[in-house]
């Protein structure tokens, strides 16, 4: 099973410029998470902080009990062996051909024979669609190919945690989907924890189990995909739809005056961009048939069901909709038709005591209190959570 990553109160600034503050989230082991956010909000900086390339000023990032922010250099090198990282620009070694690039981690960290290395590397290059290009230098291939080669190198040690910075940039839509499929297949095979930074809405809607979003120097939300995809938060809606109409501006966030001026402009008929309203939670992509089912997916369903009552009503609805009949029976929730016809706020476990007022799903609007969504329960879930024990933490 992949490692769990617990980030607590992380704050990073460059000089006087704060990039983000108080980021708290947990990447659940073996699940695929995505991080969205407008350009320049520090997503790449976040990834680099997670692997200790940048030192945040405050907070913790704990992996297997080791805090990346404060551990010693030798511990850092040890922990890094758990990671596979795809950098935004691929970061291939320019003086080595693709084969040697992908073989590099194997040669450094394993005692494999050259034949074994060769088999391993060619397999990864095949997986990323680069068979036949292994003798080329990074300077001689296209940006998309560099990206895929970087991915092959990140995967070659079968890491427990895989961080991917914008897999879609420089790739055409079809290859992006193939790469997404590849992520899910790898996840099914080695049960690694994924964090994917992306601007690609299709990928964000169909691939991850959990989605987070950085905006205005903060983690706006982080939680099960249904929460963000059904959110009414203006930032989230604007981002998903790619419109100009909303709080995200070209450079920083907009001030009130710009916002008002733009609103007038859009009302007067100026096209705010975007094609069609993007709503709802599409079906999640699955591993290629023939591969084992994703263990992370199963753990996630258990986890989400225990915290279901804390989620906003729309997200609850979406989650229940996404379950199979069997699962609904297993978790003791009602079928969507009944829920829809019955109460607007489904109560999955009627016998469970109502939480404090703040927990009332109906009370939440868009922005969720950080402690409810951003923190995912630390306890391991038994496949069948005991009834009436209360969900979440």
């Amino acid at each position: 099973m992949g490692a769990e990553v617990v980030v607590e109160g992380l704050t990073k600034s460059f000089g006087s410029q704060t990039i983000w503050r108080d980021v708290t989230l947990t990447l659940p082991p073996g699940e695929v998470s995505a991080l969205l956010g407008p350009s320049g909000t520090g997503k790449s900086v976040f990834l680099k902080s997670m692997i200790g390339l940048l030192k945040p000023e405050r907070g913790k990032c704990i992996i297997n009990g080791i805090d990346i922010v404060s551990c010693s250099e030798s511990q850092l090198y040890e922990v890094r062996k758990l990671f596979g990282v795809l950098f935004q620009d691929g970061a291939l070694f320019g003086s080595m051909n693709l084969f040697d690039n992908v073989a590099f981690p194997l040669r450094e960290h394993t005692k494999k024979s050259e034949t074994e290395i060769r088999r391993n590397v060619l397999e990864k290059l095949e997986m990323t669609g680069l068979a036949g290009a292994e003798r080329k230098l990074p300077g001689e291939i296209s940006g998309g190919m560099r990206k895929r080669a970087g991915l092959a190198r990140a995967l070659v040690l079968e890491p427990e945690i895989i961080l991917v910075d914008e897999p879609d940039s420089g790739l055409d839509p079809v290859r992006t989907t193939y790469i997404s499929q590849l992520f899910l297949d790898v996840n099914a095979q080695i049960d690694a924890t994924f964090l994917i930074v992306t601007h690609n809405i299709n990928l964000a809607r169909t691939v991850p189990d959990n989605i987070g979003m950085l905006f205005r120097k903060e983690l706006v939300m982080f939680g099960p995909r249904e929460v963000l995809l059904t959110s009414d938060e203006p930032v989230v809606k604007q981002f998903l739809n790619g419109r100009m109409d909303g709080p995200i501006g070209m450079s920083e966030e907009k001030d009130q005056a710009t916002l008002a001026a733009e609103k007038a402009m859009f009302e007067a008929g100026h096209h705010a961009g975007g094609v069609e309203e993007i709503t709802g939670v599409p079906k999640q992509m699955q591993p290629t048939p023939g591969l084992p089912p994703r263990a992370g997916d199963k753990r996630r369903t258990d986890r989400v069901m225990t915290m279901l009552h804390q989620l906003p009503p729309k997200a609850q609805q979406a989650i229940i909709d996404s379950l199979t009949d069997e699962q609904r029976q297993h978790y003791g929730v009602r079928s969507p038709a009944v829920v829809a016809a019955g109460r607007p706020t489904p109560r999955p476990r009627p016998q469970q005591p109502a939480g404090p007022a703040g927990d009332q799903p109906g009370v939440q609007r868009g922005q969720l209190p950080a402690d409810q969504v951003a923190r995912i329960p630390e306890n391991r879930f038994s496949p069948r959570p005991p009834r009436g024990q209360g969900g979440g933490q």
């Binding site: 680099k48 390339l53 000023e57 922010v69 404060s70 090198y77 291939l92 981690p105 970087g150």
Partner: protein, 263 residues
Amino acid sequence: MTSRSAVSFPGRGALESTGKLFALGADVVRLTFKRPFQTREFIQQGWFIAGVSILPAMLVSIPFGAVVSLQLGQVVNQLGAASFTGAVSVLAIIQQASPIVCALIVAGAAGAAICADIGARTIREEIDAMEVLGVSAVHRLVVPRVLACTLVALLLNGVVSVVGVLGGYFFNIILQGGTPGAYLASFSALAQLPDLWISEIKAALFGFLAGVVACYRGLNPPPGPKGVGDAVNQSVVITFLLLFFVNFILTAVYLTVVPPKTG
């Protein structure tokens, strides 16, 4: 958790850089003994540095030796110690001119290339990628380069000394009408073995410095591709400044510690 102080005062940046430069130097020494040693990289770099340095070093050392010996020959003549010309010019060449020439060439030709290479890798995030793959860039890239600079400077020093002394000898005999016998006799009367040692020690130290400075600037370039260019420029300038300063100290120490040979 460490909360770093953000006090700023004039010269803070310079102090910080100096500290980091020393830290890198110390890391290089420490990681030199870490297995596995990057032999291949070391040989490749050594070959490369020797390739770009030998010819310019020899070309510089002939006129340099000549100038030193002409100038000194003149002065020594005026003082009426013409018979000591040989000793004076050979000592000057071996102890001062040769190590400095080596270091200037190593820093200017090889250091600049090393700094540009590492700088380009840094901005392309190759160094980050290497660190993330759990491989120390200092161990893997910096150590072999610095050691190659050191070794080549050391060997080059021998070549430059010989060529410089030959040049000085030639000009003294041909142009100033010195006698070969007096030249050689005075030389063996005043020079001693430690003079050669200090020359080699200096050359090795200067080569090490040139390598560390080049790698340090390469690993910490100002942002952007232009930053790499600036870094190369600065690395050469910084090395030169350091060189003359360190040379001054070494010379002062040497002259105090090693008693002059009285012929």
